[in-house]
């Protein structure tokens, strides 16, 4: 059980791709069980027993769960696919992974977490000797992560080697035996996991001194609370949407960072989208600066509310446009006269934000898809900030970006709140949520089940609140086959 870590751009993905036959190495060799191997294609690597689970789910969404699980090696009878047996076996296999669904359902009707589990189950079924997992937990919720770890330990006991890539240090310490740290395309340390403590690990990845890291704290947030003043800049009241939101109310005041706590599928992203006007509602109202806005994204932006979407690739960047065009995308109405884009104004904005957020790109003309995840996220943040917002809705602002960029983004959020912006912060990382927020509104099954203020803003109280909240009878009880159905619409 081997951990592979490093900042974005350290070369982890490239290394994995060399091991799995996607790229050929210019020099050097890959050895499998002591023998030198050269894979001409990913298929060859698979046949040799190296199986990879990528960050993004890599399956066929329209096919059934069972078909996906057995794709390419379906059980046969009389030369035809034995679908009864396939479904039965699929059900048994998935039960081990904590996924209780009808295997005949199309894969895309499952939540993202369950889909990821199917991908993992599939990878392991292919008689693997080495399983490479590239951030397998990024779309899983806590309970599913536990199940996954159970599976991983079982695999290890069976003598299967696992390469585990993750940005979440907690996980590494929980399951990994050894660790390889990479930086700038080179290995900087290989050691037993227990021999490297957390702060050393971070400093190795960043290439900075330990004292340096410590002064920055675990996150980029300062501990001091913000000056909260005045009437709410955003007041969402009694937001209703079938199966997703059940009377959620949130207020954000200027200078305040309001955290939205809760598990995957608790309605956090939906709340943010509803406030933004990007999600049709069955009931409820959103006031911005005291007046009710029209329920469209454009109207919300005009009123001063902007959102950083959760899924950077699917909902954030416009990949083939340049960095410049991506930054000013939402600001076009402001820099356009008689339909023509004012280039001077555009360059002024782009120049300012590229410097302020320290966006690393070869030029503003570079295509945004060529940037690293952290820089893409900064581009999106710039897109939000150049709209002169009063309130900022941040949905997982630091997901999948490296430690350095993470601290920078967190620092910017902090600074913005100090300047009087209202911020709504959604984060699956408890550290970030707790340290970053002045107040945390806790959601469960689309309802507000608690609010933490002052000293109560801590991981313990958050977990207690989540654990103690009674289940809601109207909206699919917990433990139902797919607790995160709310995520579905986004992925259709």
């Amino acid at each position: 059980m081997h951990a592979l870590i490093g900042e974005n751009g350290a070369g982890k993905s490239t290394l994995i791709k060399v091991m799995t036959g996607v790229y050929e190495p210019d020099e050097g060799e890959v050895r499998l069980r002591g023998e030198e191997v050269a894979f001409a294609s990913p298929l060859a690597a698979q046949e040799a027993g190296i199986s990879t689970i990528y960050q993004e789910v890599n399956l066929v969404p329209m096919m059934s769960v069972a078909r996906n699980l057995f794709l390419g090696r379906e059980p046969r009878r009389y030369g035809l696919i034995d679908s009864t047996r396939m479904k039965r076996e699929a059900r048994d296999i998935l039960r081990d992974y904590g996924v209780h669904v009808n295997p005949a359902r199309p894969l895309r009707s499952l939540g993202l977490g369950a889909q990821q589990m199917v991908a993992i189950a599939r990878a392991v079924q292919i008689d693997a000797r080495v399983v490479i997992m590239d951030e397998p937990t990024s779309s899983l919720e806590a309970r599913e992560v536990e199940t996954l770890f159970g599976v991983i330990r079982r695999l290890r006991d069976q003598g299967i080697a696992i390469v585990y890539v993750s940005h979440r240090l907690d996980e590494l310490y929980q399951v990994c035996d050894r660790v390889t740290v990479m930086r700038d395309g080179a290995v900087v340390r290989v050691d037993d996991m227990s021999a490297v403590d957390r702060i050393t690990l971070v400093s190795l990845m960043l290439g900075r001194e330990i004292g340096d890291v410590r002064t920055h704290g675990a996150t980029g947030f300062a501990d001091a609370e913000h000056q909260v003043k005045g009437a709410p800049v955003v007041a969402a009241r009694n937001l209703q949407r079938r199966h997703q939101l059940d009377g959620v109310s949130v207020e954000i005041r200027p200078g305040e960072v309001v955290g939205l706590g809760g598990l995957l599928g608790s309605g956090r992203s939906e709340t943010a989208k509803a406030i933004m006007g990007a999600l049709p509602l069955d009931g409820g109202s959103v006031e911005v600066g005291g007046t009710t806005t029209r329920r469209t994204v454009a109207a919300s932006i005009r009123a001063g509310v902007v959102m950083l979407p959760e899924d950077r690739k699917a909902e954030g960047i416009v990949p083939s446009l340049s960095v410049r065009e991506n930054i000013v995308l939402a600001a076009l109405p402001r820099i356009t006269r008689a339909g023509l884009v004012d280039r001077a104004k555009q360059d002024e904005i782009v120049d300012y934000f590229m410097k302020r957020l320290r966006i690393k790109a070869s030029s503003p003309d570079q295509r945004v898809s060529e940037l690293s995840g952290g820089n893409q996220q900064k581009v999106l943040l710039a897109r939000c900030l150049c709209l002169d917002p009063k309130a900022l809705l941040l949905d997982e602002p630091t997901r999948g970006i490296d430690v350095g960029a993470k601290a920078e983004v967190q620092g910017v959020i902090n600074e913005l709140a100090e300047q009087g912006l209202g911020v709504l912060l959604i984060s699956s990382e408890l550290d970030e949520l707790i340290e970053g927020s002045d107040r945390v509104v806790v959601l469960k099954d689309g309802r507000v089940v608690g609010e933490l203020t002052g000293d109560d803003v801590s991981q313990d109280t958050l977990m207690t609140t989540l654990a103690e909240a009674p289940p809601e009878p109207d909206l699919g009880a917990p433990g139902a086959p797919e607790p995160d159905t709310t995520e579905e619409e986004r992925h259709d």
């Binding site: 065009e325 884009v341 898809s369």
Partner: protein
């Protein structure tokens, strides 16, 4: 994680470079080669007369292809353009009594209305573009034939005839107009907010919607523009032919237009547009047809040659995007 700098092996790099070059400039190079070959075989190919002959054939396709390129940039497709040509040609003789210009205006409005219908179906009712415009392709042509009657009607108006036949400074009027349209479209794509939105929506519609872009308005506008341009092509065809024949005008124009767009390097997956490439694509396909015809190659063979060219162009486009 996924954006780590990739260092492909030199061989791969070279191939990529060749493919990229082919995609960017291949069409222009091919046009030059074709002209050279033809002039070598028959020097009269490089003459004003031949230029006029080719121009009259290529201009309507080119104008339609520009609209098609805009639609394709939004990840859509407009199969109704051929039918709109027929509609525009059917409208002209009906209103010619009110003067040529009014009849032209009405023909263009008819094209816009058809485009509006397509746009509403795609943007508001969320019908897939290929289905929405397929329905229009069938329905609008039927409507055009009803308007006109089954037989062709002659149009002897001087103004309209001049648009299709006469020249300013030795160059056909419709070429001048086409040049203006190309410049306007290129300007809109490069310099206006509309052009920026167009590509953004085609590239990532969800992100565009979340950034507050007027997705529906842009989509509707794009189909209206496509309808308008097809109607203009219809007017030129009537002027050139001297009669209106809705059952035969514009047949297969949607396919010629798509071919020009693809050969010109605009990907069918949207998010990118090549205006000049589209022009070159239309000119190139016309030159290929002309070359084959002038050297007495049978029509069925020339169709096969065109098929090979389309596949080659799509392959080049794919080689670049599919890494």
């Amino acid at each position: 994680m996924t954006d780590v700098a990739v260092r492909p092996t030199p061989a791969v790099l070279d191939r990529n470079r060749v493919v990229t070059w082919l995609q960017d400039y291949g069409v222009y190079a091919a046009i030059a080669v074709l002209i050279a070959i033809n002039t070598a075989i028959k020097p009269s190919f490089f003459s004003m007369d031949n230029f006029r002959v080719q121009a009259f054939q290529v201009v309507p396709v080119l104008i339609v292809a520009l609209g098609m390129a805009l639609v394709i940039t939004t990840e859509g497709i407009d199969l109704s353009v051929g039918a709109v040509i027929a509609l525009s040609s059917a409208v002209i003789p009906l209103y010619l009594g009110y003067g040529p210009w009014l009849s032209i205006v009405i023909a263009l409005v008819a094209g816009c209305v058809s485009g509006l219908l397509a746009g509403l179906m795609v943007a508001v009712a969320n019908v897939q573009p290929i289905i929405a415009t397929l329905a229009l392709m069938i329905g609008v042509r039927g409507f055009a034939v009803i308007l006109n009657g089954a037989s062709a009607k002659s149009v002897t108006d001087e103004t309209i005839g001049a648009l299709g036949l006469d020249s300013w400074f030795g160059i056909p009027q419709e070429v001048w107009i086409a040049v203006v349209i190309v410049l306007v479209v290129a300007f809109v794509v490069r310099r206006t907010a509309f052009g920026r939105r167009l590509t953004a929506i085609g590239d990532n519609r969800a992100a565009s919607a979340l950034a507050g872009l007027p997705v529906k308005r842009v989509l509707v506008a794009v189909y209206i523009i496509s309808g308008l341009l097809a109607a203009i092509a219809g007017v030129f065809l009537v002027g050139h032919g001297g009669y209106a024949d809705p059952s035969n005008y514009g047949l297969n124009y949607e396919l010629s237009a798509i071919t020009a767009v693809v050969v010109g390097g605009t990907p069918l997956t949207g998010g990118r547009i090549k205006v000049l490439g589209t022009v070159a694509g239309a000119v190139f396909m016309q030159l290929v047809a002309a070359t084959l015809i002038q050297n007495n190659v049978k029509n069925s063979y020339s169709q096969m040659v065109e098929a090979v060219i389309i596949i080659g162009a799509v392959y080049a486009a794919r080689g670049r995007s599919g890494r």
